[in-house]
């Protein structure tokens, strides 16, 4: 089913500069996979080499963090919106 993924500024360069990308998927994880299949250069910034979402990648279904739902298995319905929202972190040592 068709869902929309909203892309943050830092990652728009990998999706042709647009702010949202429609994909066909029935879970959040499948939607992200569809996004990186269509835009492979994005993959290394979304996931670690082990396949986990990177620490600064937060994914919301509507207004809810999928970590608080069923994580990447969170089911999607037609017309849902997933939003990738970055957080920032760092430090000297």
């Amino acid at each position: 089913m068709s869902v929309n993924i909203l892309i943050p500024t830092a990652l728009r360069g990998y999706v042709g500069g647009v702010s949202s990308v429609p994909v066909s998927a029935d879970t959040a994880g499948a939607a992200l996979d569809a996004l990186t299949t269509a835009h492979p250069a994005l993959a290394t910034h979304l996931r670690t080499p082990e396949g986990k979402l990177r620490s600064f990648v937060n994914v919301y279904k509507g207004h809810e963090d999928i970590r608080h739902l069923q994580k990447e298995a969170t089911p999607l319905s037609a017309g849902d919106t997933l939003t990738i929202v970055p957080s920032i972190a760092g430090g000297a040592r």
């Binding site: 500024t9 830092a10 990652l11 957080s87 920032i88 972190a89 760092g90 430090g91």
Partner: protein
């Protein structure tokens, strides 16, 4: 391309870093992405209460709200700044691991409470390193 700090941006960053010492401070660099120009900075709250001296973190909702407020004024998010108390302005592996692509990461070293050096870094596409980008004005602050 490089990063240029205009108006009070540089002074605001240094003042924030010194005021926050010995804790790390963090904020947003806003202006024009295409021009690599920062005309405004916005201080953020460091949420790493467990390790304020050597870590910073800002969660997605606080960051999104702050960025939306700047974008509502017609500014673009150019990158982020943070301080390294009593540590060089070079990025750490921890900084690199958590860096977003296509953003400038300005780091200010603060020694004994005084801002020392400033350097700006950008994540390389394969995430292996961060490359320093030219920064203007880039000289250390006057004593």
């Amino acid at each position: 391309m490089g990063l240029r700090l205009e108006g009070s941006a540089r002074a605001d960053i240094l003042a924030h870093a010194e005021a926050g010492y010995p804790h790390e401070v963090v904020g947003i660099l806003a202006g024009s992405r295409a021009a690599g120009v920062v005309t405004r900075v916005a201080a953020l709250v460091n949420e790493r209460a467990d390790s304020l001296a050597n870590r910073y973190a800002v969660g997605p909702l606080a960051l999104a709200r702050a960025e939306a407020a700047l974008e509502a004024e017609g500014l673009e998010i150019v990158g982020y700044y943070h301080s390294h108390p009593d540590h060089p302005s070079r990025y750490s592996d921890f900084d690199r691991d958590h860096a977003l692509p296509n953003m400038s990461y300005l780091i200010v070293s603060v020694r004994a409470g005084r801002a020392d050096t400033l350097q700006s870094w950008r994540l390389r596409e394969d995430r292996s390193v961060m490359d320093e980008e030219p920064l203007s004005p880039g000289v250390p602050p006057c004593p």
